[in-house]
Symmetry: C2
Subunit: 319 residues, 2 copies
């Protein structure tokens, strides 16, 4: 049975998985993404993980590598914001040279596209057409699959769904605009909303839960406080669900998707956040478009990227 | 030389053009879209126009028909909001029965898709990939062409770019949400913005230009007043350019388009509106996406729909 390697380079860690033709993970490990040394240090880390897993690239039919940033149509990485010292990098070339592995068996893409492919092929995406994947984590990532393939745009950069403005008077986004989805419904955005509410609500039980460790405020704590009936936490939830619902309605109107899959850490906040957001989306989208859409939580969480990378390597290299 | 018929059914009038293989219009006429009698009355009008133009369908190779509303993948029209008494209509069947014209030579689609195809093939779209068409008129319509074909979505309804929310605190849109593009940068939206400004500015020269005929306030009058340096008119312009620029930035981030074509009556407001909106879009979109995009005015205005309808009839029926 042929074997495929999936690599998922993240801002925090790098995951590597060996996957078989049935999309089953044979072996898996992760290591800390180097904070210095750029792409060369990353290559060395991958070599180290492969050694630890006792994987020889001789037995690997093809390789998929996910990058947390823009990747153009030639596989060149463009200034990934969370990878120090990368700039514009022909990562495929580096990989080929270091491992003596054939370049035409390597597939490099944005991590959001790979996560979407994993959900589409063996997850909650159920091969829907179109399928939209929205990843709510540190940032907000996106990918739109039409007939199972990500829309690419002119240069390969399409699908930046986190940079749709939801409120022009909202907080400043890393991209420079105000009120992008990423500034409002990412981990960071939700925490920022919570601080705004908490500043005006000194009675919230969240203050006690933090016990002076203000850096510990997280969506998880807000969820717990909301479960306990805390009005401040529920307000954060309402605001976040409204923004997420509005983004989903926009996406329904633009793409007429069969299915929207919501992944990333925030998506685990299921009943309290995704359910109200789904209702808001269906109420707000145009009726003939809202009628049939399914909005579901992702099946995969940490392993979506490596699975998708291996699946693309498999699909591309068998055709 | 083969001949193709383009029909463009609008809320106000219905246009019919006979077009040759070089996309040249051989004959053209328009009539008032019937305000009652539904699709049957519309068929009768088309028959009347054909008689007036002395066109026999025997010489027509294929027919394209544009509808101002949702058309599904089977060509069924779904409740076009500006056509009285239509509901859900199998218009192709009606056309075939009335004219004894073969159903497989008739192509029915949303008018925005046809306008986009006209610009793509022989207009300002220059066969860009992806190309986005944004039509600013009474409403805001849209179409996204990937590799020259409109994205369809699950049911054929994709591309409702007028119903992306630009400001959640904005005015109520016809669709029920607040602050959709259609509620802000359509003809109606701009006039609404102008009234808000004028209410607070009794010194504006627009009051004199209207001379008590308040129903006459139009984007054209605002443009004229802005040309004369009226601060109120320039404020309307700024607000509108900001919203249009923000929508364009969203679309750049989502689609990584090669080209965005802006059509419809409002687009003729070129230097004063489109130029500042273009600058705002490029400044606000993600850098790697904004770099290469071209934002241009449409070549066609009133005849985009009939031309696109005839071109689709030509393309589809020759393959």
């Amino acid at each position: 049975m042929k074997k495929y390697l999936g690599v998922d380079i993240g801002g925090m860690n790098t995951k590597v998985a060996l996957v078989d033709e049935n999309c089953e993970i044979i072996s898996y490990a992760l290591g800390d993404t180097p904070i210095s040394g750029g792409p060369q240090a990353e290559i060395a880390l991958i070599a180290e993980i492969l050694k630890y897993l006792d994987i020889s690239l001789d037995i690997v039919h093809s390789v998929g590598i996910g990058i947390p940033g823009p990747v153009d149509l030639k596989g060149v990485v463009h200034n990934p914001p969370n990878l120090n010292g990368w700039g514009n990098v022909g990562f495929k070339k580096l990989f080929t040279e270091y491992f003596k592995y054939p370049a035409d068996s390597i597939y490099i893409d944005n991590d959001a596209n790979f996560a979407a492919i994993a959900e589409y092929t063996i997850g909650s995406g159920a091969q829907a057409d179109p399928m939209i994947m929205l990843t709510l984590g540190t940032g907000v990532g996106g990918s739109v699959l039409i007939n199972g393939s990500p829309i690419r745009g002119e240069n390969g950069f399409a699908g930046e769904l986190g940079h749709i403005v939801l409120n022009p008077d909202g907080p400043r986004c890393g991209c420079g605009r105000r009120g992008c989805a990423e500034a409002l419904i990412s981990h960071t955005g939700i925490v920022r909303t919570a601080w705004e509410i908490l500043r005006k609500d000194k009675g919230s039980i969240i203050w006690g839960m933090l016990d002076g460790e203000f850096g510990e405020l997280s969506p998880k704590i807000i969820e717990n406080a909301a479960d306990l009936g805390d009005p401040a936490a529920n307000k954060v939830l309402d605001i976040t669900a409204n923004y997420l619902g509005s983004l989903l309605a926009d996406l329904i109107n633009i793409f007429n998707p069969e299915r929207i899959v919501i992944g990333g850490g925030i998506s685990r906040w299921g009943d309290a956040l995704i359910n109200p957001a789904r209702k808001i989306a269906v109420k707000n989208a145009l009726k003939h478009l809202a009628k049939n859409v399914k909005i579901v939580r992702a099946k995969f969480y940490r392993k979506a990227g490596v699975l998708g990378a291996a699946i693309i390597a498999m699909k591309k290299h068998s055709t």
